[in-house]
């Protein structure tokens, strides 16, 4: 019996080792691929044609759709940031999704809103009825739609989509701030390759702790709390470099709901954002891939790393846990809904590589990580694993994770260099260590809970994420390089 247990644990150890090796190597490869692309852009950067995009009358107009639910702390700054975007022709549509706080009142006071006749195209189905529609009388291209809340962000975005007038629709969150030229940058693939590009996404960074003045971010600073600092690193590795790498490979599966630009007709064609999905952004991106591939279209979905959206990340453990459980639950829904694509050669790289990767490493990663830890503990208890081997296992697993995080930090330092102070660099290095010594395990636990919720068909916990709002800065802002 003991021999069988030893054999079983040994096989499990090999399996877990192999899994960790493939997972971290894939992270490393994505980081390196992203670094290569970023280096390429950096070498050619000064010749980029953003001024021409701004000046050209042929630049497509954009409808910026912003869903807001109880965002009184930051909605005015976010809308001001959106209205201050450097872009030739655009409108901002704020969908107040039945807020119970003063979100609407703050907007109304700031932009002198006047009620107009409610009207929308029935482009996509919405669940919550539109209550009223308001337009700014301050000469800002701003429309505010008030609707009944059905506890689905996607429904709010769909309502905005039905009001959008322009051929491109940019979805942003009301707790986010776009850099002034973010729209010019994220639209570039559309103007360079209008026949093929159907969606683009920008990078998401944590705004906590950075000063904001009149809708513009000043010199970025790392957040004060360690939980938010670790998320800065996580966003850098996964959302910026990871997605850059996938985009270069042609397998970008997620355009973040916080900042994505879509062809309006393409979104309407897939029925808008799925209101039953907890990961409507990933669902929409995969649906766009599917629709294009099934039709035989020559298409592209592109990630634009230097187009930046700053968003407030959860700073308390409870908020973060709720968010991550919901993400994991949502990813399960997406994988179930699009299971036909997984491993299906008909869907090319998306079907053969990207979807299986997300299934094995993003969705089931938490299970394997925790099984690995459990196997070592069990082995220790049964006496089939020595304590020095257990330590060796832990040190290697954690060390590899730190190496991957440090490589992401190196890319940030060389290419993007958003955080300029030495103390911030030291804090980032410390965050690399802390991320792998506790946070990662905790995160795996939350993801596992999300999976359990999905299997148990339990309703996700929404709850409100507590917003601190943006830190004000009095002097004129210094735009990030």
């Amino acid at each position: 019996m003991k021999e069988f247990a030893i054999d079983l644990l040994s096989a499990l150890d090999w399996l877990v080792l192999f899994y960790f090796l493939v997972l971290n190597t894939s992270y490393l490869m994505l980081v390196l691929a992203a670094a290569r692309q970023a280096g390429h852009s950096l070498r050619r950067g000064p010749t980029s044609n953003y001024d021409d995009i701004f000046a050209n009358p042929a630049t497509p107009a954009v409808s910026v759709v912003m869903a807001a639910y109880n965002e009184e702390a930051c909605v005015v700054e976010s809308v001001r940031a959106a209205l201050g975007l450097r872009y030739p022709e655009f409108e901002v549509i704020v969908v107040d999704d039945g807020s119970s706080d003063r979100t609407f009142e703050r907007l109304s006071a700031e932009f002198d809103l006047a009620e107009v006749a409610p009207a929308a195209d029935p482009g996509v189905r919405t669940l919550g009825a539109m209550r009223s529609m308001h337009a700014s009388t301050t000469d800002d291209p701003l429309v505010v739609v008030r609707k009944v809340n059905v506890q689905k962000r996607s429904d709010a975005i769909n309502a905005g989509l039905n009001v959008a007038q322009y051929p491109l629709v940019c979805c942003v969150d009301a707790d986010s701030i776009l850099e002034a030229d973010a729209l010019l940058r994220v639209v570039k693939p559309f103007v360079d390759d209008p026949d093929r590009v159907i969606a683009t996404g920008g990078s998401i960074r944590a705004i906590n702790g950075s000063p904001v003045y009149r809708g513009q971010i000043g010199e970025p600073q790392l957040p004060r709390g360690w939980l938010a600092r670790i998320q800065v690193l996580e966003y850098l590795r996964s959302f910026l470099l990871g997605r850059s790498g996938w985009s270069g490979f042609g397998g970008l599966l997620i355009i973040s709901g916080a900042f994505g630009l879509y062809r309006r007709d393409a979104l309407i064609d897939i029925g808008g954002f799925d209101t039953d999905s907890l990961a409507e952004d990933a669902d929409a991106t995969i649906a766009l891939h599917r629709r294009a591939i099934e039709r035989g279209d020559d298409y592209r979905i592109v990630f634009v790393p230097d187009s930046v959206c700053w968003t407030e990340v959860p700073s308390s453990r409870a908020d973060l846990a709720r968010q991550r459980r919901r993400w994991s639950h949502g990813l399960f829904q997406v994988m179930s809904k699009h299971r036909r694509v997984i491993g299906n050669p008909r869907y090319g790289r998306v079907g053969i590589v990207a979807m299986p990767y997300y299934l094995l490493f993003e969705l089931l990663g938490a299970v394997v990580e925790l099984v690995g830890v459990a196997a070592v503990i069990l082995g220790l208890a049964l006496g089939v694993v020595s304590i020095d081997f257990a330590i060796l296992f832990a040190v290697v697993a954690i060390g590899f994770g730190i190496a991957v995080s440090l490589s992401a930090l190196l890319v940030e330092e060389v290419i993007y260099h958003k955080y300029r102070s030495w103390p911030d660099l030291l804090r980032s290095v410390a965050a690399c260590l802390l991320e792998n010594l506790g946070y990662r395990q905790l995160h795996a636990w939350w993801r596992l809970q999300g999976l359990a919720d999905a299997f148990g068909n339990r309703e996700p916990e929404w709850g409100e994420i507590h917003r601190a709002g943006f830190a004000a800065e009095q002097p004129a802002p210094q735009p990030p390089r």
Binding site: A58, T59, V143, D192, D193, F400, L406, W422
Partner: protein, 367 residues
Amino acid sequence: MTIRTAFEIALLVLSLTLPLMFAALGFLKLSREWRSRRYDQLVEETRPLVMAALDAPTSIDLSGRHGAAAETIAASLLPQLRGADRDNLANLLEQGGMLPQARQGLRSRRAARRQRSAELLGAAGNRRATAGLAKMLDDRDEEVRQTAARALGRIGDPLSVPPLLVALDLKRVSAHTVSMALLRIGSAGADELTIALASDSPRVRAVAADTTGALGLIAAVPTIEDLLTDENHTTRISAVRALGRLGVPTATPTLIRRLQHELVVPSLTFDEDYARALITSLGQIGERSAIPVLEQSLMRSYRLSSAAADALSEMGARRAQHSNHESLDSEDRRTSDSVPSEMSDETRDGVASTVTQSRTPQGNNLS
């Protein structure tokens, strides 16, 4: 190999790699700061020399360490300069050997260098580079081709128009880039543009229509009107947009007919983007005869009705200005006073409540 050995090897590799990565982070930050300080100092020393050369076209020595800094300063300044200032700075770069080097750089094996060279030559308005840049429209690197097209636009030589249109037709350069280049070349390329309106390529026809509209080439109106029924969707919309920009009243009856036709076609063949473009253009032209069809459009989908409301509002605002009434500020444009007086009371109320915003573009200046 046992699992323990594998872990021990991994640990060894990590124990070497991690300290190196920590050290690299510190080194990179230090070296970035040092380079940045050194560069700033160099720019501070060189900038007065470059600025002096702008005021008086004298020859200055740009050899040595100041050369690279001068090139960078000049490259950043050139796109913002016009006329004599740009010529003086370009002369400075020619004498300093940078423009000859850039012309050679167009043949470099490195794409990044070809691209940087094209950018500099374009910014300097270097006509001697026109032929070389035109050849680059067929470069194997897409970004280089786009940069070459932009550079040709900045140089402004009408001889570039045909190669630009060929590159557009062959999908070597995007329509957006070519249209901007043609706009920069301006009316000097009017003859080629008018010919291009009858091109076999729908891409070329669309860009030619858009550009003639933006450049205000009135003589092209009859040919553009023919494109209103073009088989290609993009070309049709470009033609409508062009007529709106040109603001020629004689085009109004044709536009009205097209819009009336669109409003009665079966929903399957209804082209909403085309109808929206027609409404916007009728608003831009501002003829009273368009009011009934615009009123009719108010009853249609949200996208059409809001475009119609904007168009009627724009017509009202313009008429009010023409009448020399009190000047309309942006707030007035949203009130029913701003809509044309020919409208029925019902429509005036409808417009006042449907007009949601003014959509005055921020950009689109060609400076």
